[in-house]
Structure formats: C-alpha cells, structure tokens
Amino acid sequence: MPVSVANSQLVYDAMKGVGVTLVSALPETWLVHLIRMADEDPDMTLVRLAKEEEGVGISAGAHFAGVKSAMLMQNHGFLQAINGIVGVSLLYKIPLLMLITDRGGFGEKDPWQTEGGKHTRPVLDALHIAHDDLTRPDDVQPTMAKAMTLAQSSLSPVALLLNRDLMWEEPR
C-alpha cells in the first residue's frame, strides 16, 4: 500500500513527543499505519469511534482528567464532528488536537473525496480554528509541537491537515 510508513511514523512520534497518550480515531486509507502504531503501542490508549463527534467528547473528558489526547480522522470526519467542536471545544474552551488526513486536493483520484476536501479549510476558517498543513517531513515535529502549544495556551481546537505529499507515495 503506498501510504507512507516512514512519514506515518514521523507523525506518530511527533504526536507522542507532545505528550499525547490517548488517541481516538475513525480511519480512512491514509490513517492505516498511524492507527496500527497506536494500537501496537502499550503506552497509547486507542479508542475506535463509531462517529467522529464522539472523539471531541472523549478528548474533553481526557483533558478534564489531565491527559493529552488527539483525534485522527479525514475531512468528512471533521465535518461529522462539527456540532461537538462548536458545542464542547469552542463553547467550553477546551484544547483539542485534530489530525485530519486531507483528501480531495490536487492528485485526488477518488471522485467521492473531492467535495469534503474542498470545504475543510473554509469551515475551519469560519470557526476561527487555527490550522496548518503538514506537507514536508522536516516540518512534522516542529509544527506538531507548535500546534499543541497553541491548543493548550488558547484552550481551543487546532487542526493539522496531513497532505498527500506527506502521506501518499505514488507507486512508480
């Protein structure tokens, strides 16, 4: 599978590096390695969700109980979670680190991914949620660290969009 194992590992290590010990997830293809890494790591609690909005609640509970967490999802997972993001994270001022695999951009072959990808950034902007793209391997660790710092200091959700160039290795 041309999902990048090396870069998934970079993202995973960066996430652990900022203190995340609980991850909630609902996958799509690009998340396969990240979720496996969380599953195989005895120091990580992985919660497999039925719907992404639950993850917002779980992260809020973890925050209340003193544990740093993250959510793994794709564009449509973010869209699925909006009510929770507004009604829990934003309303109650709770830090939330969202890692969103960013489908539907240049190079997307699956027609069904093309709409959700288009709306992710405008919706993040409409909610004034700070976000950045993770595109280059060298940026993963520092950007993750800065994102977590801002989430914790601003008590807000932040989003990192995991791009095609980072996550996908086009078969030669």
């Binding site: 609980l22 609690t45 919660v47 497999r48 969700l49 039925a50 719907k51 909005e53 639950e54 993850g55 917002v56 609640g57 779980i58 992260s59 809020a60 509970g61 973890a62 925050h63 209340f64 109980a65 003193g66 544990v67 967490s69 009510n83 929770g84 009604g87 829990v88 309303l91 109650y92 001022k93 709770i94």
Partner: protein, 224 residues
C-alpha cells in the same frame, strides 16, 4: 418515579466521583440538591455526556465516573453506546433518565402532556440497545427502590453498567443555576486533580432508610 427522588437517592454517593450530566432539567435538579465541584453540567452538546465520561474513565481508571444522561441525548449518539461497550471502562456508570420526551426544550407540559416525545415512548428500549451494544450489564427500572438498589450496586460494582430509569416527564422546580458554564468548566478538572478516596471508606454503614427525610442541608434550603 420522579427524577428528583432518584437523584436524592444517589446524591450522597457521588462524592469523589466524576459526575457528568446533560443539560436542562437533569442539570438543574442535580444542582438544586447542592452543587459540587466534581459535577460537570454539559449544557448543550446532546449525546456527548457519555463520550466525555468515557474520556475521563480512560484517563483516570481509579475514579468512578457517573454519566447522567437523557433519552433524547442518548438517541442522538447511539453509536457512542457501542464505543462505551467495546472500551468497557470498569469505572463508568451510565444512568439514563428516560422521560420519553425532549423535556428541557419544553417538550413536556403540566398535566403530563408530552409535545415532543422520543422513540422510547413508542417502544424503543434503551437498556435493550445497551445490552445489544455489548454492555455487560444494562437494566430498566421503574420503581424508586429498584433504582436505588441498581444504582448503588452499579456504583459499588466493578464493571461498566447502564441503568435506564423510567421517570415522569416533569420539569424541575427551578432552572436556576448560579454557576457559570465556564466557572464549572474550570472547577471540574481541579476537582479531578484530587485523588479519589477508596469507595469503601466513603460508604455509609447502611443505605438511606426510605422513610427518613434526607439530611443534606443545601437540599432543604433550595427546595423551599
């Protein structure tokens, strides 16, 4: 069965627990018994009280977590029951007050008229759904004695359990809550920083005799 009587029955047991309630009637009634910093009232997001409870339960396995939910809220996050069931936190008790209506938006009126009923009014069985979702224990109770017994067993027990309490669709006496959402949001994690005491040490020698009036001072003053 009235929700307020159920809440009175478990109130003394909630010390040291992390208590997460839904909005509206449930929150206002628990508050009326005497607010504590270990109570978090989720004032808007329907369905996510149990998800917040799960996050706490996983992060602090040594603390009892009590989620006080409503039928409408649970119906909005049925998938969450499956997530709870598969995570199976031993320290979480899921209480659902099923009044068969979306009461807090005015879905009930004096005389028992329900203007926005939920599907539990036409036969949907939330305890059955919880069992089928994989909860090791889930039951429906209709009488106060049964509620008290089931709730105290669940609080003392060491496994995930769900109690669906069939209650009247009755509004609280007052919706007054003199604690701001954000105040509550910040005091709650502070309360969770205190290590929980052993539940056995908290336990009073006998359960409250049902005839006796309860002795919580805050309750008396607020009810008048």
């Amino acid at each position: 069965m009235k929700r307020i009587d159920c809440l009175k029955a478990i109130y003394p047991e909630l010390e040291d627990c992390a208590v997460v309630t839904i909005m509206g009637a449930v929150a206002a009634e628990l508050y009326s018994l005497g607010h504590r910093a270990n109570f978090f009232y989720l004032e808007h997001a329907m369905g996510l009280a149990s998800s917040i409870g799960l996050g706490i339960a996983l992060a602090q396995p040594g603390r009892k977590v009590v989620v006080i939910d409503g039928d409408g809220s649970v119906l909005m996050n049925l998938g969450g029951l499956t997530t709870l069931a598969r995570s199976r936190p031993k320290n979480l008790v899921h209480l659902i007050f099923d009044n068969e209506t979306l009461l807090s938006v005015g879905g009930g009126a004096p005389g028992g008229y329900k203007w926005f009923t939920t599907a539990t009014s036409t036969g949907t069985d939330l305890a059955g759904i919880a069992r089928a979702a994989g909860f090791p224990k889930a039951q429906t109770v209709r009488e106060l004695d049964d509620f008290e017994e089931a709730a105290l067993d669940a609080l003392d027990g060491g496994e995930l359990s769900c109690i669906v309490a069939k209650v009247e669709a009755e509004m609280p006496k007052s919706f007054l809550m003199d604690v701001h959402m954000l105040e509550n949001r910040f005091e709650f994690p502070r309360a969770l920083q205190q290590p929980p005491r052993d539940r056995a040490a908290l336990r009073r020698p006998t359960r409250i005799a049902k005839e006796q009036p309860t002795t919580i001072p805050a309750l008396k003053s607020r009810e008048e």
